[in-house]
């Protein structure tokens, strides 16, 4: 195995809480035994891993990096902020009802530690996900959210992982374990962000979501890191009978983003909705590899990913749906649409269906297209200037997914962020952003 992670591996072994020793050891073995993927590795053939060609270091535990004005949404409820992998108490708040616990691995007492250790990694197939093994091998801290049966969290739990860019080649380990008891409900937001100038960082982030029977989780993972940062990681979910997972993903581009999303249906009647948006530009790359494991009968999944790829950027989408032999009556849908706004932009999209049951409904589709000249022209015949029309069409391409974000505070945060992503100035986004107030006006005025 290459040694670009040698220092963080050593540091973790020395500093991780003792109860994590076994987790680290199994991660280390798995990582050591597997080769770093390259262009010949099927699941990695489009990824440019140039960003990993340098040794990374974990930050000093006592460092308190300046954060400047790194952007991330402010949400009601609980927020835990980590900077360069280190917890920042002064930026965090915990506000939970009885029946819910939010704690860091580093502060876990014996009982909690045993509870976490028993479940950590239970949704991950480590032999297929080398970087999840790396995550365990370099684990020193993490977050555990537990919601008891029948408990409903009204407010979101927000985990914020920042990289300050104040040092070169910083390695950041992120780990989250969510366990929802039977018939409980929660909303979890993960935001990754960085300073848009400064040093490189490599974040290796793994989140695990365990949904008990009838539980419901609204999950959001926002990858807002930009610039030279690299992120390899993903989400591994295991959902029990009659539970519902709604998982929303957003990735702005950066030098390298490779996100694997794996959802395993473990009980009948489970439903998962997976939606995502990726927007690389410049020379950025974003890769979403999704995999829905329909392991039991009578489950449904619906997946929609939209990408807008600009300049010389590269996007990769791989959507695997695996319907196991006994998973009869499965209904699975997958749609991936891509808009290229430049001739040099590149998309590699591939739905991958493996269906071993005969009584299933499975629909999938993927498209790659440039902006429709007639649509642009139509807007211009109505007087809308070309640059604004282009912004409206681009935003329109992802609008449906943004509107589908259930958390209003989050939606209000994302809308301008995304609209401005396509525009040189605010004049070009004003009508997109005005829409909600017009709608409000139409509701009120409509009842005169």
């Amino acid at each position: 195995m290459t040694d670009f992670m040698q220092q963080p591996l050593t540091v973790a072994a020395e500093t991780a809480p003792a109860w994590l020793a076994q987790v680290l050891e199994r991660g280390r073995q798995q990582w050591r035994d597997s080769a770093l993927p390259n262009r010949k590795t099927e699941a990695w053939k489009y990824n440019n891993l140039q960003a990993l060609q340098q040794p990374f270091v974990a930050v000093d535990r006592h460092a308190a990096p300046q954060l400047g004005n790194i952007r991330y949404p402010q949400l009601p409820g609980s927020t835990l902020v980590f900077a360069d992998g280190l917890y920042r108490e002064e930026l965090s708040k915990i506000d939970l009802p009885a029946g819910a616990r939010l704690l860091r691995f580093s502060e876990a007492d014996e009982a909690s530690a045993a509870h976490i250790a028993e479940r950590l990694g239970s949704a991950i197939n480590r032999s297929q996900h080398r970087f999840a093994a790396l995550n365990e091998a370099t684990l020193t801290d993490g977050v555990f959210l537990q919601v008891d049966a029948n408990t409903v969290l009204e407010q979101p739990v927000h985990l914020v992982w920042l990289t300050s860019g104040q040092m070169e080649a910083v390695s950041v380990n992120q780990r989250l374990l969510v366990q929802l008891g039977a018939n409980s409900q929660a909303s979890v937001v993960e935001t990754f962000s960085n300073a848009n100038t400064g040093g490189t960082a490599f974040t290796n982030g793994i989140s695990e979501l365990l949904l008990g029977e009838g539980a419901r989780l609204d999950h959001y993972r926002l990858q807002l890191e930009q610039g030279e940062s690299a992120h390899i990681g993903g989400v591994h979910a295991a959902i029990d009978a009659n539970s519902t997972l709604n998982s929303f993903h957003l990735a702005l581009g950066s030098r390298l983003k490779r996100i694997d999303l794996v959802v395993e249906h473990r009980g009948q009647g489970a439903h998962c909705e997976l939606n995502g948006i990726y927007l690389p530009r410049g020379e950025e790359q974003v890769d979403y590899h999704t995999c829905i494991e329909h392991a039991v009968p009578h489950c449904t999944s619906s997946e929609t990913f939209r990408g807008i790829v600009s300049d010389e950027a590269c996007a990769i989408f791989n959507g695997r749906i695996h319907i196991h032999p006994n998973a009869q009556k499965t209904r699975a849908e997958l749609s991936n649409k891509n808009l290229l706004t430049s001739n040099r932009a590149e998309v590699n999209t591939k739905p991958e269906l493996e269906i071993y049951a005969d009584d299933v409904q499975c629909a999938h589709g993927a498209t790659v297209a440039q902006m429709d000249p007639l649509t642009l022209h139509y807007l211009r015949t109505r007087g809308v200037p070309k640059d604004e029309a282009e912004v409206m069409i681009s935003y329109g391409f992802i609008n449906e997914l943004v509107d589908g974000v259930r958390n209003k505070a989050l939606r209000d945060y994302l809308k301008p962020l995304l609209a401005r992503r396509f525009a040189r100035n605010d004049k070009l986004t004003r009508h997109i952003l005005e829409e909600e107030s017009l709608e409000q006006e139409s509701l009120e005025g409509g009842h005169e």
Binding site: H377, G383, K386, G396, L438
Partner: protein, 248 residues
Amino acid sequence: MLKIDNLHARVDDKDILKGLNLAIKPGEVHAIMGPNGSGKSTLGHVLAGRPGYAVTAGSATLLGQDILDMETEERAHLGLFLAYQYPVEIPGVSNMEFLKASVDAVREARGQEAISSVDFMKQARECCKTVDLDQSFLKRGVNEGFSGGEKKRNELMQMMLLEPKLCIMDETDSGLDIDALQVVANGVNAMRNAERSFILVTHYQRLLNYIEPDYVHVLAGGRIIKSGDKSLALELEEKGYAWLEDAA
């Protein structure tokens, strides 16, 4: 208002308009009829500056200004409006956002005061009523999943809000039910005034019972081959186009 001289245009290397002449004064309504494929829609698209439609000879002025070298949006700002035969669907862009962006752009270019969201919505709601579209259409994606007739009404709504000088209505009557035809005709008649002119492209004399034209032209083979008053439409209804094409 509009003056077209010897207009030649081609689409994808195919000559479609071949020396078309037309002059329209303020306040006039001109109907253009003619066989399928004769170039009626092409005329509208050329005037609106659609990409791929190349003018190879001739000129066109609107309100004394040469429009053929203008950007599409500048033509709209000046007062040109084309109601499409096949309106375009724009998923993800709400009708409301689209209409407001259009109205703001046009008003700004014309030096008119900006309109508040409250006033705009008031107008938009009124227009919905006039064209008999439910207000829920304001929230839907532009023409997205609209029926044929709903799309045409939506075109009319845009026309009402943008207050153009020259309205080109390309088969707005096709695909409309009988009641809707009346609705559209009422909308157009309400907009008629001494400063505004209309080109109605239609295949049916019936529309002209509701909206009385000052002139009727026959476009065939890329040229206007016959012009007359509204009685020409009745004559065409009876005899078809063959007798004219043979003569031309």
